[in-house]
């Protein structure tokens, strides 16, 4: 049997974490939970994950960006998805394609409230691309 892919999920709301866990596990992924930027950094340092889904705001308002930067520096091929509600609340949209300086090191940015199917599709997409 193929080994389950490990998804690092960084999310500070315990219910959102639980839901991602339930959903991703039911789709044959394994979830590595990080409730804080610090916990996520430890998992990143270990390198033992296949993709990351990062909430933008953890203990810092830009935790997601910092973490994705760190991942892409060390593991450029591992897919990273940032989940954010910033756009809705501030009207500031992060557009990966318009990011000419390429400072957003994520492969996809999903707006909250995210649909689980959307997350699943993005992951499948990114995994098939990185094959």
């Amino acid at each position: 049997m193929e080994k389950k892919r490990k998804i690092l999920v960084a999310e500070d709301d315990s219910d959102m974490m639980e839901q991602m866990n339930i959903y991703l596990e039911s789709n044959d992924y394994r979830v590595l939970k990080a409730y804080t930027q610090e916990e996520a950094e430890k998992i990143i340092d270990s390198g033992d994950f296949d993709a990351a889904v990062l909430d933008l705001m953890l203990e810092n308002p830009d935790s997601g960006f910092i973490l994705s930067h760190k991942i892409k520096k060390n593991f450029p091929d591992k897919p990273v998805i940032i989940v954010t509600s910033v756009a809705k609340e501030t009207g500031v949209y992060f557009d990966k394609n318009a990011d000419s300086n390429n400072w957003i090191k994520a492969d996809a940015i999903i707006q909250k409230e995210l649909r689980f199917e959307q997350l699943k599709k993005e992951l499948e997409n990114l995994f098939s691309r990185s094959k």
Partner: protein, 384 residues
């Protein structure tokens, strides 16, 4: 802390050199103190001796106060005032011909005050002081208004965020249930339903807290100050929490004598229930909460101690701010509005009291509320 001085720009327009030099001298080291906000106002003075250069200077320098001689060689004071459209300054008109006509015309053109020649340096300062205070008050009001709007905006933004988080969580669970991610057996969804209900309850609590807080803040809370036995009130409030505490096997111990206090009962209920709910919520299973009430003279201390998770030193100072929730591995799944301590702080402030917090991370916390002058003298309350 030293605040920077507020510098007001003054332009003096007079064709007599002596007037300009005298005015400059008289205002150069003049400082007005505004004690309420501990502000100091000082002046930066420039002078011009004809109308044309004055009009130019008014446009480029943007003065705060204009001291204007009515009679100038090339034009009169009113013509100067007329030629400036957007007047953001106050004008003091100097005239040797103190006539009512000039005064009326100048006032119509926006003059703030009049000085008739000859005048003493004191009189000049008095008039400038009046203008400066008027400017100061108007600007202060404006900046306070702005500040208030900003605070309100921030409060509402955070509130919106705080209400959206539980909604997103509940919606998420409903979608998972809708998709039957855990199969057809109902029991598999128990935890999801339980968490959804908990988040709904905490949302309801948030709304109730918001109502309490805004009532307290706006000063619109109607208070009914009456004499009642504090022990009865605490006992009653604690009973309301007995199920909640029993679920986690937490003991509530009350050590309080019957004593009459004079206060609003709903205030005291809010106070006791917020501290009590925190002491249970942030406790460990099987722990305990002690409520000690101490009375000396007319002062009363309510001491809530718990055997809970404690608070880190660096988190202590944030504790009483709106929407503050201390996040760590112990508090992750504990629901709360982050407003409880803001509410009690406002109540305690109203009674002129104070709150003292001592805490040891991992061991427990002690919140002491000291309220002065609310305890009734023995016997007085009992007669009522």
């Amino acid at each position: 802390m030293n605040k920077p001085e507020i510098k007001l720009k003054v332009i003096i327009v007079d064709d007599e050199h002596g007037m300009c030099a005298g005015g400059e001298r008289c205002l150069r080291n003049y400082v007005i103190e505004e004690k309420e906000f501990s502000d100091k106002i000082s002046f930066e003075v420039k002078s011009y001796n004809n109308g044309k250069s004055a009009v130019e200077a008014i446009k480029t320098e943007q003065p705060d106060i204009l001291i204007l001689d009515y009679k100038l060689p090339d034009m009169n004071g009113l013509e100067i005032l007329e030629s400036v459209e957007d007047k953001k300054f106050l004008t003091i008109i100097i005239t040797a011909f103190a006539s009512l006509d000039v005064a009326i015309a100048a006032t119509k053109k926006g003059a703030f005050d009049f000085l008739s020649k000859p005048f003493t340096p004191e009189e000049l300062r008095e008039s400038v002081k009046k203008a400066a205070k008027s400017l100061y008050t108007a600007r202060k009001m404006k900046s306070l208004e702005e500040e208030k709007k900003q605070v309100r905006f921030e409060f509402i933004s955070i509130l919106a965020h705080e209400l959206k988080s539980p909604l997103a969580a509940i919606e998420g669970y409903l979608r998972l249930i809708d998709e039957r991610v855990r199969g057809e057996s109902l029991e598999s969804y128990d935890q999801m339903v339980k968490r959804s209900i908990e988040r709904i309850n905490s949302m309801r609590k948030l709304i109730a807290d918001i109502i309490d807080l805004t009532k307290l803040e706006s000063g619109r809370k109607k208070r009914n100050i009456e004499t009642f036995d504090i022990k009865d009130l605490i006992t009653r409030t604690a009973e309301g929490f007995s199920n909640y505490a029993a679920k986690r096997n937490i003991k509530i111990n009350l050590s309080c004598e019957s004593f009459y206090v004079k206060a609003d009962q709903t205030d005291m209920e809010m106070l006791v229930s917020n501290f009590l709910s925190n002491a249970i919520k942030y406790n460990r299973d099987g722990g305990s909460v002690n409520i000690d009430v101490k009375i000396s003279d007319k002062n009363i201390s309510l001491i809530f101690s718990d055997t809970g998770i404690g608070i880190k030193e660096e988190d202590l100072k944030k504790l009483f701010n709106d929407f503050v929730r201390i996040k760590n591995e112990y508090t992750r799944e504990i629901e709360g509005s982050g407003l409880g301590l803001s509410i009690v702080k406002k109540i305690v402030d109203y009674y002129g009291g104070n709150i003292d917090v001592k805490s040891e991370y991992g061991k427990g916390s002690v919140f002491s509320v000291n309220l002065a002058n609310i305890a009734e003298e023995v016997g007085v309350g009992k007669e009522i």
